[in-house]
């Protein structure tokens, strides 16, 4: 018999406009040793489903119908006392935000022990050894003081390991994971996914893995269910879903994903004077002892009409660099040349003509538009400030701008809260393009959007870029999107550029070990894809210290020797690419070749 049997599950919420059904007639079964990947966009009912699977009535639930049978126990009809024994003990859950699911005032070791004591009569010594076993299981260093730390003293990856450790504490039969890696950096995500894979092969535990990311699902799941508007529209084995999707929504979802080597149509020849040349920009935050050197002497050239992609993990200084160029932050040193003339670091010193030619699109669609102003007012204000026009012309231009981003002119009268995230971001793009700028700085404009919306906004950005001949500096932590959008790619780590070059050349192979790790961590929506496994040690927070050697040496998997921590690595040029490393291109190629060969043998 299947471990988990779900039949005709319906979940509804009470809202102002009446009941909203978030999960509609969902049925499936899950065997032991299976991993069901549930994929869908935000609002598709994934998280509601996750809670309903545990028999948990979320606040505001007005309808919870159907059957959820776990190992013969009808969860939706069991009394609360029965459910409490099952939750945590036999079904465990891991949430998206570990900081919210861990108690901030309790040491993490104690939080694991608490779960154990809740379900079993364990002596202090037994609980202690069980905690140690849990920490071992999630590969946290045992001898360290991790168990004695508070959640805020851990990194995001370590916190998520702790919540997984709590889930594992009682060796449950089923683990439900609700977007467990969404808030993590790609490199950390890859490590957590490895961990889950190891746990599963060791314990043969069943899992329901919920994610919006098809790439992640392809890595972890054995079977996939695609959710759309509360319904499961398609289920099948991983290879079925990814190679021969039946439902049109699944097909569209798959097509909207950028894959490695996937690229926009090639741009025209990029030559002549760069539109932007930033030289040795430095910026740090904080005072005296608590200084964070966010950007450490970075130079950036943007050819006219080109898209320069800036990629790196959070904390790499890419956004700060962008804000220094925009004039929103004042760099400590460095110069910026813009269209051949010096750009004053202070926004107040830049004339209207300069402001007009450089605009920005921000990351968070929720705060990009003033909530108290209608879309039309927001756009009109921006236009009139940049180009002195009369009311009638301004109105016409605003309508035109809305049409340009493929929004109806009726949006003029709407308030931002009536718009979806994607629509808000379109309006923000329309605002940036009102003054027909030469350069648009894009600060992760896609990262808070759903995959399919991302694709549409991405295309829109590229269309506008082609039509206007605009240049972009495009910041993202997603290497696949940067590869798709860009003509040149610049990889940043802890405030320094470690590698840069033509985007195409990145398809052949990564050079700098950090770039290699980024590539390897990018989840590919293809279960057959063979990727070299490069995993980084967790980040050591030394963003504040100036060190003589290579910035990456503490986490590097190809560390050469003492010179890495003592001597600044040289820039090495090779065929349109340059990178900073003590290894030469030939040496790196040899190492990568050997590893690929041994992987093929093994």
């Amino acid at each position: 018999m299947a471990l988990l049997e779900v039949a005709h599950l319906n979940v509804g919420y009470a809202s102002v406009r009446g009941s909203v059904r978030a999960v509609r007639d969902v049925s499936f079964s899950l065997d032991r040793d299976e991993v069901l990947g549930v994929v869908g966009e935000s609002g598709s009912g994934k998280s509601t489903l996750a809670h309903a699977l545990m028999g948990y009535r979320m606040r505001g639930t007005s309808m919870l119908e159907g059957d959820v049978t776990f190992d013969g126990i009808p969860l939706l009809r069991s009394p609360a006392t029965e459910l409490r024994k099952i939750w945590g003990g036999r079904i465990a859950m891991v949430h998206q935000n570990p900081l919210a699911s861990l108690t901030p005032t309790m040491r993490v070791g104690e939080q694991i022990a608490e779960t154990i004591r809740q379900h079993r009569n364990a002596t202090a010594a037994e609980a202690r050894s069980a905690v140690a076993a849990c920490l071992r299981a999630v590969e946290l260093p045992e001898g360290s003081d991790i168990a004695r730390r508070y959640p805020h003293q851990l990194s995001g990856g370590q916190r998520q390991r702790i919540t997984i450790a709590i889930a594992l504490a009682l060796e449950p039969d089923l683990m439900i994971l609700d977007e467990p890696t969404t808030n993590l950096d790609a490199t950390t995500e890859a490590v957590i996914l490895d961990l889950l894979e190891d746990i599963r092969s060791r314990t043969r535990m069943a899992m329901v893995y919920i994610s919006h990311n098809l790439g992640v699902i392809a890595r972890v799941a054995t079977r996939v269910a695609v959710m759309y508007a509360g319904e499961i529209v398609e289920t099948g084995s991983v290879s079925q879903i990814y190679t021969a999707p039946v439902h049109s929504y699944t097909r569209a979802l798959l097509e909207s994903l950028p894959r490695p080597g996937n690229s926009k149509p090639k741009a025209a020849v990029l030559s002549g004077e760069p539109v932007l040349a930033a030289m040795s920009i430095r910026k740090s935050f904080g005072r005296r002892r608590a200084t964070v050197r966010a950007v450490r002497g970075v130079s950036l050239h943007v050819p006219r009409g080109a898209v320069v992609g800036l990629v790196g993990e959070s904390g790499s200084g890419k956004s700060t660099l962008l804000r220094c160029i925009a004039g929103l932050e004042r760099p400590e040193s460095g110069t910026i040349q813009y269209s051949g003339s010096d750009l004053p670091p202070n926004l107040a010193d830049r004339g209207k003509d300069m402001l007009r030619t450089m605009q920005m699109v921000f990351q968070d669609p929720e705060s990009t538009l003033n909530p108290s102003l209608s879309i039309g007012t927001s756009l009109r204000r921006h236009l009139i400030a940049l180009k002195a026009t009369d009311g009638v012309t301004a109105r016409r231009s605003v309508d035109e701008a809305l049409r340009r981003v493929r929004l109806d002119t009726a949006f003029r009268g709407r308030l931002p809260r009536e718009l979806s995230g994607g629509e808000k971001q379109r309006v923000a793009i329309a605002r940036a393009f009102l003054s027909a700028p030469d350069l648009v700085l894009c600060d992760e404009p896609l990262s808070s959007l759903d995959v399919s919306v991302q694709a549409a906004v991405c295309r829109l950005l590229l269309d506008l870029q082609r039509d206007y001949g605009t240049s972009y500096v495009f910041v993202s932590h997603d290497l696949a999107i940067v590869r798709y959008m860009s003509d040149r790619i610049v990889v940043m780590y802890l405030g320094e550029v470690v590698e840069e070059g033509d985007a195409e050349s990145f398809d052949r192979r990564p050079l700098h070990p950090y770039t290699e790790a980024l590539f390897s961590a990018t989840p590919i929506p293809d279960p057959e894809a063979a990727t070299a496994r490069v995993r980084l040690k967790s980040q050591i927070s030394d963003a504040d210290r100036e060190r003589p050697g290579c910035i990456f040496n503490a986490r590097c998997h190809r560390r050469k020797g003492a010179e890495c921590s003592e001597i600044a690595p040289p820039w090495r040029d090779t065929g349109g690419r340059r990178y900073r490393c003590h290894w030469s291109p030939a040496e790196l190629a040899a190492q990568q070749g050997n590893e690929a060969a041994s992987a093929a043998r093994g």
């Binding site: 102002v16 909203v20 609002g43 959710m227 925009a326 920005m360 705060s367 909530p371 991405c458």
Partner: protein, 290 residues
């Protein structure tokens, strides 16, 4: 990357509360306040006697058909004095609150948005002023300026500035680096235009609540100052002053104290209730914004 798909979120579109729905928590106190405002406007016409005439009846007459609220020690009609007194106190506290909350919010918004050394300086000054009890500060100002209606408004306004500055600053602080603020900076907007055209409309609900709370406090302050003899001077009918004048014979004739005290009490409770109701609906609106 091809084919955009209609987002599932758009399809299910969890219903958002729209429009403003009048709830009794707002309606009842607002109606009470409206009655007071109306009385302030036309109270003089409704009053059966002159508010300042002596011996409209026997001194300390009990409430009756002729004198609804009775008479005070000079034989003045308490009902007429309460009606006429509404205008004095409402006018004084409204203008003092407008002045104080207006100036305080302007300072707080500016200081909060601009930050840096200016913000530090302004907020330390605010700390100093907040350390002094409001009533004492107002009395201090009134003794040095001399008692007059204008000075009363100035004194109370001044007392209100630091607290309102604090509130406005804390409201604007989380919005400083929002995308729309930075977009405004990138079109060359200066701080006055960002503070008053972009940020003020967003924090306005919070400031309206602050205004109501301060208004209630102004009523109490003016009545207290009147009671202590620093506020409105006799023979102008003022609720606080009336209580003060009649307090000597409260044991034999409670009505000249009771009715102005009730008038103050009900108004203060209504204004506070209104502020409370606005806060809870305001918070919901603010949540949608953030």
């Amino acid at each position: 990357m091809t084919a955009p798909v209609a987002s599932a979120a758009e399809q299910v579109a969890l219903a958002k509360p729209e429009g403003r729905r009048w709830r009794w928590q707002v309606v009842v106190p607002a109606a009470v306040v409206a009655v007071y405002l109306l009385t302030g406007l036309v109270g003089g016409i409704l009053a059966p006697y002159s508010a300042t005439d002596f011996n409209t009846g026997a001194p300390l007459a009990t409430p009756s058909q002729a004198h609804l609220f009775g008479t005070d020690g000079f034989g003045r009609d308490v009902f007429s004095r309460v009606l006429v007194g509404a205008r004095t106190i409402l006018l004084l506290s409204l203008s003092a609150t407008l002045l104080g909350v207006g100036a305080g919010c302007a300072i707080g918004l500016m200081s909060g948005y601009r930050g840096g050394a200016l913000d530090e300086t302004v907020m330390r000054l605010v700390d100093v002023l907040l350390a002094l009890p409001g009533l004492l500060l107002a009395m201090l100002i009134l003794t040095s300026l001399g008692p007059s209606s204008l000075n009363l408004v100035l004194a109370i306004g001044f007392v209100f500035v630091p607290k309102s500055a604090r509130i406005a600053r804390s409201a604007v602080l989380p919005l400083r680096n929002a995308g729309y603020v930075e977009a405004a900076r990138l079109r060359g907007a200066g701080w006055p235009s960002i503070v008053f055209a972009e940020l003020l409309p967003i924090v306005l609900p919070q400031l309206v609540v602050e205004f109501c709370l301060r208004f209630a406090y102004a009523l109490l302050l003016i009545s207290s100052l009147g009671f202590l003899g620093f506020g409105v001077q006799p023979p102008t009918p003022d609720w606080g002053l009336m209580i003060s004048e009649a307090r000597n014979y409260v044991t034999i004739a409670p009505w000249p104290v009771l009715f102005p005290a009730l008038a103050i009490g009900i108004l203060v409770v209504a204004v506070n209730a209104l502020a409370d109701a606005l806060t809870s609906s305001g918070e919901r609106r603010v949540e949608q914004y953030l």
